[in-house]
Symmetry: C2
Subunit: 334 residues, 2 copies
């Protein structure tokens, strides 16, 4: 099946580009609340599922042992922008486990935040693995290994005890098989598994409600979600969509984007989990899609819905800052 | 009509994302050689038509008056990466007309070439309008104004004498109406007009063959095309697709990308013009599409076709440089 166009990109009054996609909204009992497009086709969630991947950090007792609060837990669920506060917190997390940035196996790239990148360059610096957007997640992985007495070398590889813990959490929360046939390698070298959007929507409804979880998992899920919603800057960074979405309604929206237009979100007060994927992998469209869906689900709060709708209709600007176009959700999302 | 998927993005063995698009290949008599998808829908060509937009620079006599050679003409057709050689040449072009970077109305952004950006920051510098990827085109515009005795202030605006010259060239070469209804504003503040892909394909076949052109236009088109093919670095920059495509067969391929997945190209020896647009605006897909189409048109040269095919199947790498996926043209392109 061909997914519908969900976001149009206008230049002036003309549609310049268009983004197709699929969206699943489920409750924690597995009831479908809204499905657009093909929600059964397997998609890679990429970084959108980091909150689930962080469950072992809390459930193993590592987060408590190292005294991690909201910021550290948010960073463990983050695709951060490599700003100084992000890199420094990742360093501090590793130090608690007696490690440093050299233990990270995620690779190195310049901060995605442009000001942070320029500041680092101006200071004569070069990036290290702490600046990698996944360094918080990887620091959480490493802390889990050290606390559990697992040799951390090769912790990114499929089959390593840490990745098996992560895979077990993913399978158990989403109810979907995460086998070798579904597996590929993420940008930060860990396995990523393609499973249906509907499974991720169910998983995030469970994360938001703890429905069907045992007491330890319920506590861990609540702690991770609360941490992300309390410290959205540490989940992403300055000017990022995840932050704008979570700050639009503090404590009421969880949102986490992944590469290639994947998004997972939840509205705890409604008991709903959301997952979506832009077919072509565009981040701008994934962001607009999740904002539009959240506006729809939360339409009874008119002020909030208007704020979310603004995020879904992001402007396109020229290099002198004039508005020359905008993103626009289609009727399929309204 | 729904355009077909032309490029798939694989992660491991699984299709992670997919790009739809349309392609037109025409000869200079207006004969359709190949059409995929909807080639009648108006699309913004953006920077892909800079070679046509540069015709007035040559036809007005400005290029000769200021002694511009291949590099200056290539830069006038460029979306360059803001590397030092690009910014310096734009400065030198403006100086010939007694102007400097302050006359540019394209706006400012950091160099898109990462090394150039970091080097500029390390030196304590900040970008100016000369680093704007369109500064060569705008320098050509300004030189045309000064040489023709037209007041240059506001040269980016629809209705300014310079933009009317550019619009006349676009209409005459493509045969398509460029009216107010088709108009929006490009990222560098000049007008951009949405017209059918088939018109751009015809226009680039004419640019490549001069068929149907008067002697002055024929000479100008040949000079601009020769300049771009002789100096591809000045059309784009280090590591860019336009450069790789034109260097794959020196003098035999013209290729110029635009924003939002637009591409125009030509194969002079076959007398063919090519235009295409990735529906969702992804540059990676526009680049892979044009490489695949060129490989198809030039398949009798097996070594060249293999080189172009490699460009169409670009790898996706993790942050440690491991190949974790690749782009793959679909059967619709082969």
């Amino acid at each position: 099946m061909t997914n519908p166009v969900l976001i149009e990109v206008l230049r002036g009054a003309i549609v310049e580009s268009a983004h197709r996609g699929a969206v699943a909204v489920f409750d924690a009992d597995g009831k479908s609340v809204l499905e657009i497009g093909d929600t059964s086709r397997p998609v890679f969630p990429r970084s959108a599922v980091k909150a689930i991947q962080a469950l072992p950090l809390v459930e193993s007792g590592a987060a408590d042992a190292y005294g991690f609060g909201n910021r550290e837990l948010a960073l463990a669920c983050a695709s951060h922008s490599g700003e100084p506060a992000h890199a420094e917190l990742a360093r501090a997390m590793l130090a608690k486990a007696g490690l440093d940035g050299n233990a990270l196996e995620c690779g190195t790239h310049w901060p995605s935040n442009h000001d942070a990148e320029i500041t680092l360059a101006r200071a004569g610096g070069t990036p290290n693995a702490l600046h990698n957007n996944c360094s918080g997640k990887h620091s959480g992985f490493l802390c889990t290994c050290v606390h559990a007495g697992i040799a951390h070398q090769g912790y990114v590889k499929a089959g390593h005890a840490l990745q098996e813990m992560v895979r077990d959490a993913m399978q158990s929360v989403t109810g979907a098989r995460h086998g070798a046939d579904e597996r590929a390698t993420d940008g930060c070298s860990i396995p990523t598994y393609a499973v249906p959007l509907k499974s991720f929507a169910l998983g995030f409804a469970r994360m938001a409600t703890a429905r069907g979880f045992g007491p330890e998992r319920a506590k861990a899920a609540k702690r991770l979600f609360s941490a992300c919603m309390a410290e959205p800057f540490f989940v992403a960074g300055t000017g990022r969509a995840d932050v704008a979405l979570m700050e639009a309604a503090p404590g009421r929206i969880f949102a986490k984007g992944g590469a290639e237009g994947a998004y997972c979100a939840a509205v705890p007060e409604l008991g709903l989990g959301i997952s979506l994927k832009c077919d072509d992998g565009a981040g701008r469209a994934g962001e607009a899609m999740v904002a539009a869906i959240l506006a729809k689900l939360l339409r009874s709060d008119e002020a909030l819905a208007a704020k979310l709708s603004d995020l879904a209709n992001a402007p396109i600007e020229s290099r002198v800052g004039a508005k020359v176009g905008a993103l626009r959700p289609t009727a399929a999302l309204s």
